[in-house]
């Protein structure tokens, strides 16, 4: 399915209502977050690889620069494995670099000073990583990570989602549910049901019952309620 097909599927779910659900809204609040939600709940749907060239002495890598759509770093290889065949580094290396925690490294006071063959990688925050030890010459490493698909825009609706074809209809179903959420109590329950059906499990509990116990608290609503009580 292309982006346009997904758009049509969502419009079909919403009763062909193209007036209240314009293309831009369906893309921004339907298709794109639906693709990301699918990947969050089923991370194996999209795995990508990217080769990163490190210069001698370079230890820090901003993952966001090389892979802005990554969200779980799975493996780091010394060498290049973006294609079918692995390519060794200039120095004949092709090995997996194990994860090392910063605390583990920092237990050795001079860890940052160490230069030599790479022995592992470390993470810092959500988008920084580094290699240990610092390379004495240029190297290439490959990052293998879970990613979220490229978001659609109104100009790219002729393209297909990066997920396998079998998941495409689900993007439309989840997207329609996400769009329905803004419509209030009854539609929220309907959207909740659609999400439960799409994922085969309840993502969150009933909103309607909880809301039923709560009254609106804004001044205008309080005043209206009190006036109604006085009148009755």
């Amino acid at each position: 399915m292309t982006g346009s097909d997904l758009l049509q599927r969502i419009w079909d779910h919403l009763g062909g209502n193209t007036l209240f659900y314009g293309e831009e809204e369906v893309i921004l609040n339907g298709i794109n977050p639906a693709m990301r939600l699918l990947c969050l709940l089923k991370p194996e749907l999209l795995t990508q690889r990217v080769a990163v060239d490190l210069l001698a002495e370079q230890t820090f890598i901003n993952i966001r620069e090389h892979a802005p759509r990554h969200w779980i770093l799975r493996r780091v290889m010394l060498g290049t494995i973006t294609g079918d065949a692995p390519t060794k580094t200039t120095y004949g290396e092709f090995v997996m670099l194990p994860y090392m925690s910063l605390d583990q490294l920092n237990a050795r006071g001079d860890w940052f000073k160490q230069r030599g063959p790479m022995q592992g990688y470390w993470r810092y925050g959500r988008f920084h990583m580094g290699v240990y030890k610092r390379p004495e010459a240029d190297r290439t490493i490959t990052l293998i990570f879970r990613a979220v698909p490229t978001a659609f825009s109104t100009n790219t609706m002729d393209q297909s989602p990066e997920l396998a074809d079998v998941w495409h209809p689900l993007i439309g179903d989840v997207g329609a549910a996400l769009l329905l959420l803004k419509e209030g109590n009854i539609q929220i329950e309907k959207a909740r049901g659609m999400l439960t059906k799409a994922f085969g499990k309840e993502l969150f509990g009933p909103i309607k019952q909880a809301v039923g116990r709560q009254q609106r608290t804004s001044p205008v609503h309080v005043r209206t309620r009190e006036e109604a009580e006085v009148a009755s």
Binding site: L37, E57, N62, W71, G125, S153, I207, T217, S218, V220
Partner: protein, 211 residues
């Protein structure tokens, strides 16, 4: 493709069914969106590695105001240990007057976002860029490297800014910002929507390991 802040505000307006900004101005949404980024930032999610030029005899160094916390401090490529004033009194009597290479860092009794190296450096570090084109281009020798956590909301202060976090966080921030706007004590309050969006944001945050 990373979204812009403007696109995030469009999304939020659609969620609030307020495309003509009758209920909430775009600027009000922008400010709330920044606050939601700050709320996430306080969880120490966004690491940054800061190079600071060390100066002989200077003990105190100011960090960016966006600093949320400090994880590690290295001086001359070696670890400095964190110490409180009490620890320093015990370990290095007369530490404020000592002259030696730095061994500790502290934020105890300092102004906000200021760290103090103990003892202060004996040498000036070089400020000449060493590695052109690298993420960190300055020389770490005789200088300070600080692994800190920062508040990224400063990068989202204008509609033309790019979304300052990995793409996966767009949804959480859009939902939580819209939920906050919808639950405000205004004539446009929509509690059911706010609750539904919070639940949805929770699903995303759970998957991302942030609760």
């Amino acid at each position: 493709m990373t979204a812009s802040i403007s696109e995030q505000i469009d999304r939020i307006q659609y969620l609030l069914q307020d495309r003509d900004a009758e209920a909430f101005s775009r600027n009000a949404i922008l400010v709330q969106h920044q606050e939601e980024i700050t709320r996430l930032s306080r969880r120490q999610l966004w690491g940054e590695i800061l190079w600071v030029n060390a100066l002989a005899g200077t003990a105190q160094y100011a960090l960016p105001t966006s600093t949320v916390g400090i994880r590690l401090v290295l001086y001359d490529e070696e670890r400095l240990d964190y110490a409180t004033e009490e620890m320093l009194d015990r370990l290095l009597p007369g530490w404020e007057g000592r002259q030696d290479s730095p061994r500790f860092w502290t934020t105890d009794a300092q102004s906000p976002n200021v760290i103090r190296l103990v003892p202060p450096p004996l040498r000036d570090g070089s400020a000449i860029p060493l590695f052109p084109g690298l993420p960190m281009i300055q020389d770490p020798r005789d200088n300070i490297l600080i692994f800190l956590y920062e508040d990224r909301s400063g990068y989202a202060g204008d509609e033309s800014d790019a979304f300052p976090l990995p793409d996966i966080w767009e949804d959480v921030l859009a939902f939580e910002t819209a939920a906050m706007m919808a639950s405000k004590e205004s004539d446009y309050q929509q509690l059911p929507l706010a609750m539904a969006l919070r639940e949805l944001a929770k699903v995303y945050r759970q998957a991302l390991g942030i609760l």
